[in-house]
Symmetry: C2
Subunit: 257 residues, 2 copies
DNA sequence: CGAAACGTTGAATGGTTTCAACAAGAGTGG
DNA sequence: CCACTCTTGTTGAAACCATTCAACGTTTCG
């Protein structure tokens, strides 16, 4: 399989864990029914338990929580190659909602198939567990961002994180990437008002750091941006899971860049 | 075993999952070497990989991240009965540091023992996984708090969450609990300055909602406090993990209060 | 074409931080 | 035992960052 044919999901896992032919085959068989969802309409509601999990193949999704007063906080985003609702499947609880940012395509993964695959291919289980752990690390970094960084650093950090994530699945580079988010999405993500997001973006643009316009993020000065954001991609680049699985040798990861 | 003899950890798990005698026995055997740590000195440093996990039996710990500019963000707290460094063990990565708030006592859990127990007692694995998932839900709620709640609501929410968690292991009630945190801890937790924490506490006290003084949290008006905080304990009270483990019947949880 | 969502900008308001000063208690060493 | 320091808590005043309100331009879409 050439890289062009591999799914973003396979591509992401392969970047960190050397999977064997057999394991790749199990991964391929895992892919079930293709499903589409239209932008804006929720996929699952807060509290509702939906037993389906998906691997996102095209489009962007955000997961968020709404408060009684109407304000919302976006917890994180899923881009192609990311798991969606993994915890809902494993634990039958879904404590937040999912909204497709644009029309999306996803492959359904049945809980039974997943557990079956895990049982036969422990390294695959470890790889998926690693991906879940990486997601959690992103939420923690998000928490730090909102708690202890100013609005400009928050924005810079967020845009850089997206850059790294998208580059991993071949959807962007150090120079920039396409991004379907509105300023409202950014506001709900960063804990700011939409108005202030606009001002911060202007300031970053006028400083020659980044431009966020017309669905495109153009990074003009990656280094100064990373410095402003205090961005250390270590939490994204961790060498794969070193979990030893009952006597088997630990998974070998590739060297992070 | 009478409740008085059970460890806080067992007590916590039992509150959500009906464990059999055999499973309880495995749990008890899991308990390894007792270790103590003194207040203030870090248990493990950011980035350093320490393969030990612990179950906290006495005292409080916080996990946090420090930024280059010296500010820190506390991600969450561990109280008796909580796991400590579970992810470090499973994935050999530790992306934040642990600081004992007071002198603590913890039981070491070896990764090998844990995986062994999981293999023989899948329901135990599910129970621990459930606990980990609950921790993650708390981090998400924390994120929402910092992102979308005012300082007073944040404080109220945090104090109420602690109340629920401590009540579960018999260390507090609706009326209050002992709390060794300083106002600095609160500030680093809630993303506020220490000075402002002081003002917020005064305001809450003068409104007759809650008093935080001399290592004691006294909740005077639980209902009004919960309303201010927009506190919905659902994310803490979830009925246990419903994970079906390869054909076995799902775990039965007790009814949440 | 009209409506609705998104983006943009100014001015006023306000929540939070910073700076500064001081009080109280704990721990330290002379 | 006392001075000394360090941490924690407390309060006031000024400065600042971010929000709110309001108005308007632009684009999209039915």
């Amino acid at each position: 399989m050439t890289p062009a044919e591999t799914s973003p999901f396979t591509r992401k896992l392969s970047a960190f864990v050397d999977l064997s032919e057999a394991e790749l085959a199990v991964l391929a068989r895992l892919h079930g029914r293709r499903r589409s969802f239209v932008a804006g309409r929720d996929m699952a509601h807060q509290g509702q338990s939906d037993h389906a999990a998906y691997i996102l193949s095209r489009g962007w999704v955000c997961s968020y929580k709404i408060q009684p007063d109407g304000t919302r906080q976006i917890v994180d985003f899923q881009v192609p190659g990311d798991f969606l609702g993994l915890r809902s499947v494993l634990l039958r609880t879904s404590d937040h909602s999912f909204e497709p940012i644009v029309d999306i395509e996803a492959v359904e993964v049945l809980a039974s198939d997943l557990l079956e695959a895990f049982a036969h291919t422990p390294r695959l289980a470890a790889a998926v567990l690693w991906a879940a752990s990486r997601d959690e690390a992103m939420v923690v970094e998000h928490l730090v961002s909102i708690g202890r960084r100013g609005a400009d650093a928050r924005m810079a950090h967020f845009l850089l994180e997206l850059s790294s994530r998208l580059a991993l699945v071949g959807m962007g580079s150090r120079e920039g990437y396409d991004c379907p988010l509105t300023q409202n999405h950014l506001a709900d993500t960063l804990g700011l008002s939409a108005v202030h997001v606009n001002r911060v973006l202007r300031q970053l643009r006028e400083s020659g750091l980044v431009t966020f316009q017309g669905g495109r993020v153009s990074i003009h000065d990656h280094d100064r941006l990373a410095e402003l954001a205090d961005f250390d991609p270590a939490y994204l680049d961790q060498t794969g899971p070193l979990l030893e699985w009952k006597g088997r040798p630990p998974l070998s990861g590739r060297q992070p860049r």
